[in-house]
């Protein structure tokens, strides 16, 4: 059905993922202010993409499956985004200081 990736590919991906995990851990020990969380999340996104595209083999899936996979993340961002429409703008109100 799909072409079968080699063991070598899988092991390489695994090595990168493990490396990234410990990179996250060590970077977190350095104080970068707001950037700590940004970098941690960027790494997490990168790791997630590797798992999705290689381990879950999304790259070989049909465009439809890709659409659904992307849709999930889009929808979650939509959920978060609209929470923030409220929480961020509470600050703009007189006397508001929720954020």
């Amino acid at each position: 059905m799909h072409s079968v990736p080699s063991v070598r590919t899988y092991v390489t991906i695994w090595a990168i993922l493990t490396f990234m995990t410990f990179a996250t851990y060590y970077i977190a020990q350095i104080d970068l202010g707001q950037w700590n969380i940004v970098i941690a999340l960027l790494i997490a996104f990168f790791k997630m993409s590797l798992v999705i595209f290689f381990f879950m083999n999304l790259k070989a899936e049909s465009p439809l499956t890709k659409l659904f996979a992307a849709g999930g993340f889009f929808w979650m961002i939509l959920l978060l985004g609209q929470f923030f429409v409220d929480y961020i703008s509470r600050d703009w109100m007189p006397g508001g200081k929720m954020w």
Partner: protein
């Protein structure tokens, strides 16, 4: 009655009903049609349970003093009415019954993509319903169907966890149905059944499925968090430790607003089928109706904040949600206009399903437009949490969804059972439902603007006349529901044989025998034309 009794011979052709007998053959069936029947029975039971609570509410509200039951009991009545009706009747109503039965048939498939998951979803539904009923039997829940924190999480002394577990479980039934439909529509269409040829009922169910899949998990986790908060005596919505109860409302309405589209979209799909069949005419603006279903499904997720304008949400967020609420009304309007236009120069018959369709178009228009009152900031402040809201959503849910469900049941009953229902009684009860409904709920708009808050056990005496009207209407409405139950049951044994296509409708479901055989079609159908090709029926054209 149009073309009854074409074939009065009493010959039982093999079909899904007589294929096998015995309770095992039903409880372990993988046939989508039998599962649909199981669902029909279950949701009918739930509907009447919810209906009993509704009647008790209305009887209590005959007098302003609150003298029939005490306030605690009354609170449980409206809570159980809401929970049962919303989560156990409205949400599964059309998708799990008519959708389950006809979506595979309409796309020319033998069954849904995952028949076993389909059966599983019914068992999950029953499991959820068991918890909900247990909550009723044990002593009830009094949080309102919205489970607002911190009342639900800290203050209520009733069986909130039991009910929340019930809703949580039933949610997965809904998710699995949606998942099944999505995959079925993508993967199981008959040759030639392109997306542009799908019947609009299928489009509507597809859009509904997207909402079910995307929204339901969020309400599931939200109610789980409430349940955990009760169980552990601490949680994330507790204001005592800095929790924000308004966040609960955000999370709850993220699902529960789109959920009203789960309830109404399949109803709109039914109406598209009815209007075309009984006007004997292709739909006006096919792609706009199909597209508006998807539009509603997507924009429906962007408007939940209009439930929260007075809660202390940021007023800029109110502005945002109000604007988008106006946007979601557009696809609904498109549908109403297109249905009306479909009737133009049609050949319109007044069979019972069409009467329900007329009722739907009118009442949904009122329900939809009054929804805009609630999306308009200045007015919503006054009418939110009053009977205006109650009236509005009953216009959409009962006047819209229930009428569509009844219309669809009448339309497809001959296909499902092979029998015709008594047309005279059916027309009579359709009129009863329409009249009773308006008498019940129209006064509530007036009550709402007058300021009667919802969920009031006792009310101010000056509101009594309108409440009495409402209760009177409710009894008519109740009668209108009981009559069809009786004649449907009667017709299964005594109704005249329907023939395969009593309405002379297009659509693959009418191409097979009634009741359909287990795998729906003798041979896989090949589709060569668009949906609703009534003009291709080889008959004389009339100007």
């Amino acid at each position: 009655m149009s073309t009854a009794l074409q074939d009065p011979r009493v010959v039982e052709t093999p079909n899904y009903l007589n294929q096998e007998y015995g309770w095992r053959s039903w409880l372990f069936t993988k046939d989508h049609k039998r599962i649909a029947v199981l669902y029909i029975i279950s949701i009918t039971v739930m509907f009447f349970i919810g209906g009993i609570f509704a009647s008790l509410i209305r009887v209590e509200l005959l007098t302003p003093q609150g003298d029939l039951v005490n306030s605690d009991t009354y609170n449980k009545f409206f809570t159980m009415h809401g929970i049962v009706m919303v989560f156990f009747f409205l949400i599964p109503s059309i998708p799990a019954t008519l959708g389950n039965f006809f979506v595979p048939m309409m796309i020319g498939a033998k069954d849904l993509a995952f028949p076993r998951i389909n059966l599983l979803s019914w068992y999950i539904y029953i499991g959820g319903a068991a918890f909900a009923l247990a909550a009723i039997v044990l002593g009830g829940v009094d949080t309102g169907w919205t489970f607002y924190t911190p009342f639900s999480s800290t203050y209520s002394n009733t069986f909130v966890i039991t009910a929340a577990v019930g809703v949580f479980i039933a949610g997965f039934s809904s998710i699995l149905t949606g998942l099944n439909f999505i995959v079925t529509v993508h993967k199981m269409r008959a040759p030639g059944m392109t997306w542009g040829r799908l019947p609009l009922f299928v489009w509507a169910n597809y859009a509904t499925s997207l909402i079910q899949v995307l929204g339901t998990p969020v309400v599931a986790i939200t109610l789980a968090l409430v349940g955990l908060e009760r169980a552990f005596h601490i949680g994330i919505f507790d204001p005592a430790i800095g929790g924000d109860p308004i966040l609960f409302q955000h999370m709850f309405w993220f699902y529960s607003h789109p959920a009203v589209y789960i309830m109404i979209l399949p109803g709109m799909g039914v109406i598209s089928e009815l209007v075309t069949c009984f006007s004997r005419k292709g739909i006006f603006g096919y792609s706009f109706i199909a597209g508006s279903s998807l539009g509603i499904a997507i924009i429906g997720f962007l408007v939940w904040g209009h439930h929260m304008f007075v809660t202390g949400m940021s007023m800029y967020a109110s502005l945002y949600f109000s604007l988008l609420t106006m946007l979601v009304a557009v696809p609904s309007a498109i549908k109403v206009f297109n249905w009306t236009a479909t009737m133009f120069r049609g050949s319109i018959s007044f069979d019972t399903p069409m009467l329900y369709a007329f009722g739907f178009i009118g009442l949904f228009t009122i329900g939809g437009l009054t929804g805009l009152f609630l999306g308009t900031l200045g007015v919503d402040v006054h009418v939110t949490d009053t009977y205006f809201v109650v009236a509005h959503f009953h216009y959409v849910m009962v006047g819209g969804m229930v009428l569509a469900y009844l219309g669809g049941m009448h339309y497809w009953w001959p296909k499902m059972t092979g029998r015709l229902y008594p047309e005279g009684w059916a027309k009579f009860s359709a009129l009863l439902v329409f009249a009773g409904f308006n008498l019940t709920f129209f006064p509530q708009f007036i009550l709402g603007y007058l300021g009667q808050p919802r969920r009031y056990h006792a009310y101010s005496p000056e509101f009594q006349v309108l409440n009495v009207m409402s209760t009177a209407g409710a009894s008519v409405l109740g009668l209108g529901y009981i009559i069809p139950l009786i004649y449907f049951l009667w017709s299964m044994k005594y109704g005249p044989k329907a023939g395969n296509n009593p309405w002379r409708a297009t659509g693959l479901e009418w191409q097979t025998s009634s009741p359909p055989p287990t795998y729906n079609f003798e041979t896989t159908p090949i589709v060569t034309e668009e949906a609703y090709a009534y003009h291709d029926q080889k008959e004389t054209h009339v100007g």
